[in-house]
Symmetry: C2
Subunit: 315 residues, 2 copies
């Protein structure tokens, strides 16, 4: 079976044909602007898909189109309810519109859900029963697979683990509440912590590294801590890992997954990150002496997880 997997982002939409054994063919891309009407984008997307199918006979017969879209998605009805990055997609009946335009069955889900489905079926997940994937980026995207199935919550609006409080009355979060996991463990939060540490301690090597990178990003503190043993960077990283660790512990105690998959730039920090986080969990989870081991690993599919996972809505 071959399905077209579509990954909708804030600035571009990428697509590719994917087979049910996880093989991905050539990709295509169309640009998106925040200001374009959603239905106009879908017209262009449908045209791009038809063009792709017409020029890629090697993909064989296509059975459907799977789409991952950022925002609040009602996956049963196939509607984008609200997307912060795509304001003109609100209440857009993506499934109906795309089915009419292409004549193919269409399924949609949240982009973080698509990503975990891709990883569990064809990447780091190795078809495990219960897995959680966190994408540590501007925010924290979260996908949940329970008993081999995507868990989306009532009306497909759950699994927003990034918006669970880690600190009542704590840092302001973009969602309006204070103290969300996302406000402490996203890449944005790490960058803010790094900036504050550089401001308070301009003698830190982090300042030099930031100049080399051209900006303060999520790698600055990790590099300064790992390679230069910079005390201020170590403090930033330790604090970050504590918050990330506490959030992952919550996931362990609630879902007791076989696997936690981390993706996003921070997940590239390798063993320095994963060994410490693994130990943090091992030492602290509830009933830990009697708890099954939880592995924390990096995603394997990178940016392709969205396309492959969107297609996997059909597999």
């Amino acid at each position: 079976m071959t399905v077209i997997g579509i990954d909708v982002g804030g600035t571009s939409i990428k697509g590719a044909a994917v087979t049910d054994n996880g093989h991905m063919f050539d990709t295509f891309t169309i640009d998106v602007s925040r200001d374009e009407k959603g239905s106009d984008v879908l017209d262009r997307l449908a045209a791009a898909i038809k063009e792709y199918m017409a020029t890629h006979s090697e993909i064989g017969e296509v059975s459907g189109i799977g789409m991952g879209v950022p925002g609040v998605i009602d996956s049963k009805r196939g509607v984008v309810c609200y997307s912060a990055n795509l304001p003109y997609w609100s209440d857009l009946e993506v499934k109906n519109i795309m089915e009419k335009l292409t004549g193919l069955p269409v399924k949609i889900t949240n982009d973080a859900n698509a990503a975990i489905l891709g990883e569990v079926k064809f990447g780091a997940g190795d078809n495990c029963e219960t897995a959680i994937m966190l994408t540590l980026g501007t925010g924290i995207g979260c996908g949940v697979v329970l008993n081999g199935q995507l868990f989306e919550g009532n009306e497909g609006k759950g699994a927003e683990f990034g918006h669970s409080t880690l600190m009542v009355g704590g840092r302001q979060c973009s969602c309006g509440r204070k103290g969300c996991f996302e406000a402490y463990a996203s890449a944005s939060a790490l960058i803010r912590d790094t900036e504050e540490a550089i401001e308070a301690h301009p003698e830190s090597i982090m300042k030099t590294i930031a100049v080399q990178f051209g900006k303060v990003n999520g790698r600055v503190a990790f590099k300064a801590a790992r390679e230069f043993n910079d005390p201020y960077a170590i403090e930033v990283v330790d604090q970050y890992l504590t918050y990330l660790g506490e959030g992952l512990l919550n996931i362990c105690n609630i879902f007791r997954p076989n696997l936690i998959i981390l993706s996003g730039g921070i997940a590239n920090e390798g063993t320095y990150l994963f060994e410490r986080i693994q130990q943090y969990l091992k030492d602290r989870d509830y009933g830990y002496k009697n708890s099954p081991e939880v592995k924390v690993v990096q995603g394997k599919l990178g940016y392709d997880s969205g396309k492959i996972g969107a297609a996997a809505l059909f597999f």
Copy 2:
């Protein structure tokens, strides 16, 4: 179909025959002591069940025995891994032993899981798809039903929502971590807050109410706030509801349930509790304008939820 539902507690075990339409017959009780060997208790329990069946012909043919046990339970294997209140039940193969003793099929689960199953199938849950039940007692028991099925996590050891951090580095929790939901929103936490407020403000009416009740319990601050408008009690209740509300918001954002069921003594506080909590959630959940409504209600089955739910493992 009739099943014997067994609710194992720290001081007694209660049982009753339950039909698959939720009717419960006479109950029976046997005492339990912390110091008794688990297999000896099971011998006595099996004898009590046989006696009950022999003297209650009206229950008809019995198809199995369902058991709810406090602690860490491997429900697939039917083993009690660890129970804080029943130390001599560790690694006890309850399912195998009870099947041999009674000749009937046996299923076991955690007591909080049994309670929610009872409520969802025959009580406040009204057979809804996705529900969470919290029992606000010494700790916080949590049961989760997703898509109509009990969710127990890998090896049946998940759904420990009481042990998710609400305050990193906060109050010491019995599980070893700091800042767990349980350390802020259990009845024990409310009692501690009330005691501290009385200590700090001996002029508070809470002191008089506590004397009337014979002790500081979970009702003192609620009664002083509701009936006497006591400022210190209002402060205690407001703080308690904030923590409870934040925990429930986390549940909403993660699971997006149709229903949250509260049980335990605090759930008897009626509209004063439920109206405020409902409003707290309505004002703050993630994507609230586009989120399905979550109802927060009191459990209907009271202490019978454990027996009825344990039997419902077969329905």
